[in-house]
């Protein structure tokens, strides 16, 4: 009896198990809806990876504009974005903005590194290869420049690295800056001159962008001669000029890619689902959590070139917006000024008291928002400018001023600053006419710094300027605004009373550098110490 049973058992097992014995590939499954970079083989693979590198600029769509809201230009009271911790000077290694910036820059670096590593093995025309390489070098330099500016010494990865290389130590800032400058020199060589791109290449990095970034990096790290020389090279390209409509440059897409723009983030209207539209219109126009500060507003001169606290300036505190630097109205939505249009086209005006969810300062922001288009909401296509010619001019002036023999360059410095001051449509008085020719180095320094502040307000550069000028104690002060409840719907009864609505003092313990994010500290054990104060 048992014999029969065992036979059946064996047969059954045989019949059962046999089919899989010969099919060892049953457990081999290949990814079906994505590819790995090891498979790069065509020029198009490289172009896609390069486009993806540009996309890293959009990874944080509020960057770099949101940086102005932790300075003395503005404040954002949204708890969830984390800027308020930096504003309050209570930031820690787990503060969200520190991680956001870190991840955004390193994402860009990985993508640029991926292009740079694989491009050498992909056959294509040499000129194309050079251009793509130049673009990737430029972008990598841009991301590293931002990192060393904000964090100081950082891990320096120059090719794509995986989990097995997760430990990477901080490298001294100066070494990285050297590498950035070298890369940018190379990129400037490879990249086409500005104005040569057209159609669906408009907005790619150019020779001008590489040189302007080089100037910026050199200037930020006080390599004055290099900075001045790079600025000069940009000017010598002969392509760039100041755009005659300051307001239009930041309002809507009509003025995009104009000759003042050196490099920008190319946003597109109605592409929120692709992450290619930003929401500054919503933040600035619909919400009140982003506020401009009186601290900034008061530093706009009268149109006659005099500061408002100069008794001879003609400033009238009861009609504070009259007779001011035109850039004030182009930068701010001031009380009683145009606040957009209804869909039907009727003009809406801004009355602070009407905004129940409180704009504490009564001051709102106009830059980056197309207030003429009532239908665009969270899907703005305004390009965010990262480098523009006015910046190059003022950087040049600053570099010359800080070099040992600044007096030799005095006329050139005046010329450069005046170009910006008197840009078409703004036409503020020249230095010679308002401050006079008999000025000290420190006077000129103040002039340049003031000019930078009013020219580039809400463009994301103020925080870096505060850091490199080491003016924390004077910049990180209380938030001052105009009391909104006194600004009623009747402009004639408006009372402009300033008050401090949020207090702070500069936290010298934390200095100017941002914390290396907690995540990095935890997972990258090669980093042993965070920046001081964290």
């Amino acid at each position: 009896m048992m014999k029969i049973k065992s036979k059946i058992l064996i047969i059954a097992l045989f019949v059962g198990i046999w089919p899989f014995g010969g099919c060892s590939d049953f457990l081999e499954t290949e990814p079906m809806d994505f590819v790995s970079p090891d498979n790069f083989s065509t020029e198009n693979d490289i172009i896609l990876a390069l486009n993806g590198t540009y996309q890293a600029l959009m990874a944080d769509q509020r960057s770099p504009i949101s940086l102005d809201f932790i300075t003395d230009n503005g404040i954002v009271t949204l708890a969830n974005t984390g800027e308020i911790e930096f504003w309050d000077q209570t930031q820690t290694a787990i503060s969200a903005p520190a991680l956001r910036k870190w991840e955004q820059n390193y994402a860009g670096i990985l993508r640029a590194n991926t292009v740079l590593k694989y491009i050498v093995d992909v056959p294509m025309e040499e000129s194309k290869q050079q251009r793509y390489t130049g673009e990737a070098l430029f972008l990598r330099a841009y991301f590293y420049a931002d990192l060393v500016d904000f964090y100081g010494d950082v891990p320096f990865r120059t090719e794509p690295e995986g989990l097995e290389k997760k430990e990477s130590p901080r490298v001294e800032k100066s070494i990285i800056v050297d590498a950035i400058l070298t890369d940018l020199t190379q990129a400037a060589e490879y990249l086409p001159a500005p104005g040569t791109y057209s159609g669906s290449d408009l907005g790619r990095a150019t020779k001008g962008a590489a040189l302007a970034l080089k100037a910026k990096v050199a200037l930020y790290h006080e390599r004055w001669e290099e900075a001045a020389s790079a600025c000069r090279q940009v000017e010598e390209l002969g392509y760039y000029s100041l755009y005659p409509d300051f307001y239009a440059m930041f309002s809507g897409e009509a003025a995009e890619n104009n000759p003042e723009i050196i490099f920008d983030i190319q946003y597109m209207q109605n592409q929120a689902s692709k992450g290619m539209s930003h929401q500054w219109k919503t933040y600035f126009n619909s919400w009140s959590s982003y506020m401009a500060l009186q601290n900034l507003e008061k530093s706009y001169y009268m149109a006659n070139g005099k500061p408002i606290d100069d008794p001879s300036s003609g400033y009238d505190a009861s009609r504070p917006w009259e007779g001011r630097d035109p850039r004030l109205g182009y930068t701010f939505v001031l009380p009683y000024s145009m606040d957009g249009h209804t869909v039907a086209g009727a003009v809406k005006y801004y009355f602070p008291i009407q905004k129940r969810s409180a704009n504490f300062s009564s001051l709102r922001i106009r830059k980056w928002v197309d207030y003429s288009d009532g239908s665009v909401n969270s899907i703005s296509g305004n390009n965010i400018i990262l480098l523009r010619y006015a910046d190059v001019l003022l950087m040049h002036a600053e570099a010359l001023l800080e070099s040992a023999n600044w007096v030799d360059h005095k006329a050139e410095i005046f010329r450069l600053v005046n170009l910006v001051r008197q840009r078409p449509g703004i036409e503020m008085p020249a230095i010679e006419d308002s401050e006079g020719v008999d000025v000290s180095q420190s006077d000129v320094r103040d002039i340049i710094r003031h000019e930078r502040r009013v020219e580039f307000a809400f463009e994301g550069t103020r925080l870096s300027d505060i850091r490199r000028w080491k003016i924390g104690p004077e910049a990180f002060t209380d938030a001052i605004g105009y009391r909104p409840e006194l600004l009623t719907t009747d402009e004639n009864t408006a009372v402009y009373e300033t008050y401090a609505f949020r207090h702070r003092t500069f936290n010298a313990d934390k200095g100017y550098l941002w914390p290396i994010p907690e995540e990095e500290m935890q997972a990258n054990l090669a980093i042993t110490a965070n920046n001081p104060g964290y």
Partner: protein
């Protein structure tokens, strides 16, 4: 037979590629439809009485009663060794035709000891059966087979399904609540179609991956939603390693084995219908418009800001006559009571050793309490078995499926609840011209035909062969294929919303659409050989050997568009401005497994069991791919020992223990070993979109499964045929936990790959008690209760001291609130410790604290003896939360945070009462948890949450004010920077006791029904979630997901149902 044999030989000898090919599918359909035809034919035949082999047969009839003479219905009467079988009717009467050679009648029914009677010449055989309280003969479904309960050595719970038919259950997962010790069921929503409960057997054992149990329905991996609750014949909960390890690397979260109902002899047609009313159990109550306006002014003053409403405006809100001062309660606008219809019809029958069938269909029509939500679900099941070769070969076919349509508003339900909780009572809902306000845009979409529409169809077809060439050997083979298709459409029409209450034109809102279509299939093939034999009457051996191959494939695509030219949910490629690029997803995985089991017992006294499974998974790289999961178990039935045999009152005393390894390969990726280059990282140059790619996830080539080692010790006790107790102690340790732990951001990837890093333990004790009174009494009752204690500890997370869990919410508070910290319980809450509320006495102000100064004119300074909280809350005032200075440095800051609570409960308990008196039947089920915390902040909980939130009446009535210095409620403030402040102030005790179900049934007397040709008729009244005892804030439910820490969750529903159950 020849036909079957050749086809199967061909199939089995060919490769799996061929298995997956059309050939077998076609063959299956042929076999299946052949089965259905046979069954249908037989069904029509079975309606009339049939005779067996004509003239030679002998007829016996009789009556079956219990010991007290009460008739027993539903007793199976069989002639041993022959296919003849009959079932007693309501009067206990049966009639059976005994085929030639029949010598013994066997009477069986659950709950009574089987009885045999030798057939003599009597034409009438009346028997009385005695109760077998301990259900010792009960057979329990285990992995790839069944086992007698007495012989079990593992921790297996067999769920009592007695009351399921009379409850309004919309998902099979709801059956489990309160039914098995050590099993935590959390139903986090009452939304139609999204009310599936989370099932956690013996705790959470994985960090990022699913801790869900493996669900096996009729031998195939499935989801609980796949089956209609009424179709379930049995549910076994496999809790320990010895029971579950036969399922290898899928079983770490325990296993639920479900079998569906099969046909029996004869023909039973059954209809169950219910109609029920649903209402929210707990819903937040918003402050009225005047209350809100006052509260808002107070909050503004408290934050040093101008007030928002003048006294005149408040007066106008009070009067509520002008359109702009009417006020609104969005909870009233969005929630209302709703109806559910549930119908279920089944026909089961068969003829012993020839065929049996069970076909059923269910229809559920459920409207949600939240506007725009509903579900319609049709579910069906056909089980058909046919027998050949004198019953030695069983061919079975099965179809199990459902079709479901679900809808909700055009934003996620959580988003809607967030909107509702963030809309001020002073706002308006509709303008005077009938346009909806912007916050009500989703309501407006609903009115204009928008919404989220999901339709889902799931079909499993299955073929089984079971060959028993000799009594002791069974070879079984099963092939099943489950196809699931899902359509998702979210559509918002072109519409206008009101800009103000008097707005007539409205603001244009362009339409948008999001379409997702996906299809997945799961194919399972397994083959087992089972051997059962007894030697020398005492040595009982059974053995099982088998293998299983599973292939899973998923594909999908999605497309989005905006500003559609046709204002309909149609996405046309011809619609110029609208299309976003199409997303395509594709994935597949396979697994191959070999397994075996040996059971040995000596005289059913000494029990031994060993299991082993070897699993290979395509998810892992070669070298990390194969894993072995063994287990061993032993049991000792002391009550069978001679030294205890004198104790008549002792029915059963068994001690058992088990040890084994289980795995979890259920990670969220099928390709852990590949770098993933993602597309869709597009950019635009000069106004033209250019496609872009980037590495989005790094490969981890070392990924492998998680391993859970589990020890179980149990005692089963049954005394006096009345009381049974079972106790389990378990110690579960999961290591190599796959977690997506932080990688350095400097690698350039924010997506974190899986790494095997963690270790976690779960220990606990489970106790189940059941008591029945004498079945002979007119009033019969059964009480059973269970309670379990569980303790979870995170032991290790690789290099990290803790990891964060992200919160699910539109407005996530700062990261790190929910974290798994080494040494603490999984997913604990982390934050400041609230230590009451600052009172006026804690402050000084001008003029040596001159009390005559108006409260709002005082410049409050905290007294010296208080730690300085100004880094956390700007300018603290009386009424603010006082935080503990944990590190005692005099400053309240981030250093003063600690674990403040945990979502996993210490105790899970339930009590089930079942009483029967004459025609009445009463069922009560209560369940709850103890020792759990809920963290709830957000709209209606935090004052003016994020600057926009409304406030609840409860907050309004209890808030701190100078005149009512509360010790527990903070003051109001309008300061959104405080909205993200994490502290134990928002931590609430989530212990609860819920009267889950109460059902009262009335069964009509069979005598009355016989005249109507009706076998049985029962009317019942049933209430789900009648009440809940909890200390949570009003309006919020203690049953919630641990990572939903904001208040935007859909309430649970109370369902009051009337039902009817007819048997024909």
């Amino acid at each position: 037979m020849k036909y079957y044999r050749t086809v199967f030989r061909r199939v089995l000898l060919s490769c799996p590629q061929v298995l997956r090919a059309l050939v077998i599918k076609c063959m299956l359909i042929i076999v299946l439809s052949a089965n259905v035809h046979v069954a249908a034919f037989a069904m029509s035949y079975s309606v009339g009485p049939w005779t067996e082999n004509g003239t030679q047969a002998k007829k016996i009839e009789g009556r079956v009663t219990d010991a007290d003479g009460t008739p027993l219905a539903g007793v199976t009467v069989a002639v041993k060794g022959t296919p003849a079988v009959a079932v007693t009717d309501e009067a206990g009467a049966y009639r059976i035709v005994v085929p030639e050679g029949g010598t013994v009648l066997v009477f069986t029914i659950v709950g009574f000891a089987p009885l045999e009677r030798v057939i003599r010449d009597d034409a009438v055989v009346n028997v009385s059966m005695t109760i077998s309280m301990s259900d010792l003969e009960e057979v329990v479904v285990v992995g790839y087979g069944t086992q007698k309960k007495i012989n079990l050595t593992g921790a297996v719970d067999n769920i009592n399904l007695g009351d399921v038919e009379d409850r309004v259950l919309t998902d099979a997962s709801q059956i489990l609540q309160g039914k098995s010790s050590g099993v935590l069921i959390t139903q986090v929503s009452g939304q139609p179609g999204r009310d599936q409960a989370d099932v956690r057997i013996r705790g959470v054992s994985s960090i990022d991956n699913n801790s869900d149990p493996l669900i096996i329905i009729d031998g195939v991996e499935s989801a609980l939603s796949d089956v209609n609750p009424n179709d379930i014949a049995s549910i076994s909960v496999l809790k320990d390693a010895s029971a579950a390890s036969i399922y290898g690397n899928r079983a770490a979260g325990g296993v639920l084995i479900i079998t569906t109902k099969q046909g029996r002899s004869g023909l039973d047609v059954n209809y169950v219908g219910t109609i029920s009313l649903q209402e929210p159990t707990r819903i937040p109550e918003a402050a009225s418009s005047t209350e809100f306006a006052r509260a808002y002014n107070e909050g503004r003053l408290n934050s040093g800001l101008p007030i928002g409403y003048t006294d005149e405006e408040i007066q106008l809100f009070e009067e509520a006559t002008l359109p702009e001062y009417k006020g609104v309660n969005l909870y009233d606008e969005y929630f209302s009571n709703a109806l559910t219809n549930n119908h279920y019809l089944s026909a089961r029958g068969g003829q012993p050793s020839k065929f049996d069938f069970s076909v059923s269909g269910g229809y559920l029509d459920q409207d949600g309490i939240l506007v725009g939500t509903d579900q319609r679900k049709i579910s069906y099941l056909a089980n058909v078995n046919t027998y050949f070769l004198e019953g030695k070969l069983k061919v079975s076919g099965r179809l199990l499926g459902y079709e479901r349509k679900m809808s909700e508003l055009d934003k996620s339900t959580e988003g809607i609840l967030q909107t509702i909780g963030s809309t001020r009572s002073t706002a308006y809902f509709k303008s005077t011209s009938g346009l909806y306000s912007y916050p009500a845009i989703n309501y407006s979409s609903y009115v204009n035909g928008g919404g989220t529409f999901r339709s889902n169809s799931n079909l499993k077809y299955q073929l089984g062969l079971e060959l028993k060439p000799v009594e002791s050997l069974t070879w079984a083979m099963m092939y099943a294929s489950t196809g699931n298709s899902q359509d998702f459409t979210r559509f918002s029409p072109n519409q206008y919303t009101a800009g103000s209450v008097f707005d007539e034109d409205g603001v244009y809102r362009p339409s948008s659409i999001n379409l997702q279509r996906s299809y997945s299939s799961l194919t399972t093939f397994n083959s087992t050989v089972r051997f059962d034999e007894s030697f020398a009457e005492r040595h009982n051996i059974s053995a099982l050997l088998g293998y299983e191959a599973i292939a899973f494939k998923a594909e999908g695509f999605g497309a989005r568009g905006t500003d559609l030219s046709a204002n309909l949910p149609i996405l046309s490629l011809a619609d110029p401005a609208s299309i976003a690029p199409i997303d395509i997803t594709n994935a597949e995985r396979t697994s191959l497994s070999f397994f075996g089991r040996i059971n040995y017992n000596y005289n059913e006294k000494y029990l031994l069991e060993a299991n082993i499974r070897r699993d290979g998974s395509s998810r892992f790289m070669l070298g990390k791919r194969w894993g072995t999961f063994p287990s061993v178990a032993a049991g000792w039935v002391l009550s069978k020992e001679s030294f205890l045999s004198s104790m008549d009152w002792l029915d059963l005393l068994k001690i058992r223990g088990s040890w084994g390894l289980l795995g979890n390969s259920g990670i969220g990726t099928n390709y852990a070993a590949s770098d993933i280059l993602s597309a869709g990282l597009d950019y635009n140059f000069g106004g033209t979109i250019v496609p872009g790619t980037a590495i989005s996830l790094l490969a981890n080539r070392n990924t492998t499964w998680e391993t859970t080692e589990q020890l179980n010790i149990g005692i089963d006790l049954s005394v006096l045929n009345r009381l049974s107790i079972n106790i389990n102690y378990f110690d579960k340790k999961t290591s190599d936990i796959l977690a997506r732990i932080t990688i350095p951001g400097s690698l350039g990837i924010s997506g974190t790959p899986y790494q095997n890093v963690g270790t976690m333990t779960n220990k606990g004790i489970e106790l189940g008690v059941e008591y029945n009174n004498s079945p002979a009494k007119a009033f019969q009752y059964r009480i059973n209760g269970n309670v379990s204690y569980q303790k979870n500890r995170v032991v290790d997370i690789g290099p990290l001291p803790y990891i964060f869990h992200s919160a699910i919410s539109g407005y996530a508070p700062p990261a790190g609130v929910i974290r798994s910290v080494v040494g603490e319980s999984f997913g604990s809450y982390f934050g400041m410790v609230a230590d009451g509320i600052y009172q006026i006495d804690d402050f000084t102000w001008q003029n040596n604290s001159d009390p005559s100064i108006d409260f709002y004119d005082r410049d409050f300074e905290l007294k010296e003896n208080h730690a300085n909280p100004s880094g956390i809350i700007q300018s603290p005032m009386p009424g603010d939360i006082r935080f503990k200075d944990l590190n005692e440095d005099g400053i309240i800051d981030d250093g003063d945070q600690q674990i403040i609570g945990k979502p996993l409960p210490d105790y899970i308990y339930s009590l089930n009462l079942n009483g029967r008196f004459k025609n009445f039947e009463l069922n009560i089920l209560a369940q709850g948890v103890l020792g759990a915390d809920a963290y709830i902040m957000g709209a209606m909980v935090t004052p003016f949450w994020n600057g926009t939130g409304s406030i609840s009446k409860e907050m309004y009535e209890n808030r701190w004010t100078p005149d009512r210095p509360s010790e527990t409620w903070q003051r109001l403030y309008d300061d959104r920077t405080r909205s993200g402040l994490i502290s134990s102030y928002y931590l609430q005790n989530a212990a609860y006791l819920r009267l889950k179900n109460i059902t009262l049934g009335y069964a009509f007397n069979p005598g009355l029904l016989r005249r109507l040709n009706v076998k049985s008729l029962k009317l019942f009244f049933s209430v789900e979630n009648l009440f809940t005892v909890t200390r949570l804030n009003k309006g919020f439910d203690p049953e919630k997901s641990f990572n939903r820490i904001t208040s935007d969750f859909h309430p649970q529903i109370r369902t009051t149902a009337l039902g009817l159950n007819i048997g024909l």
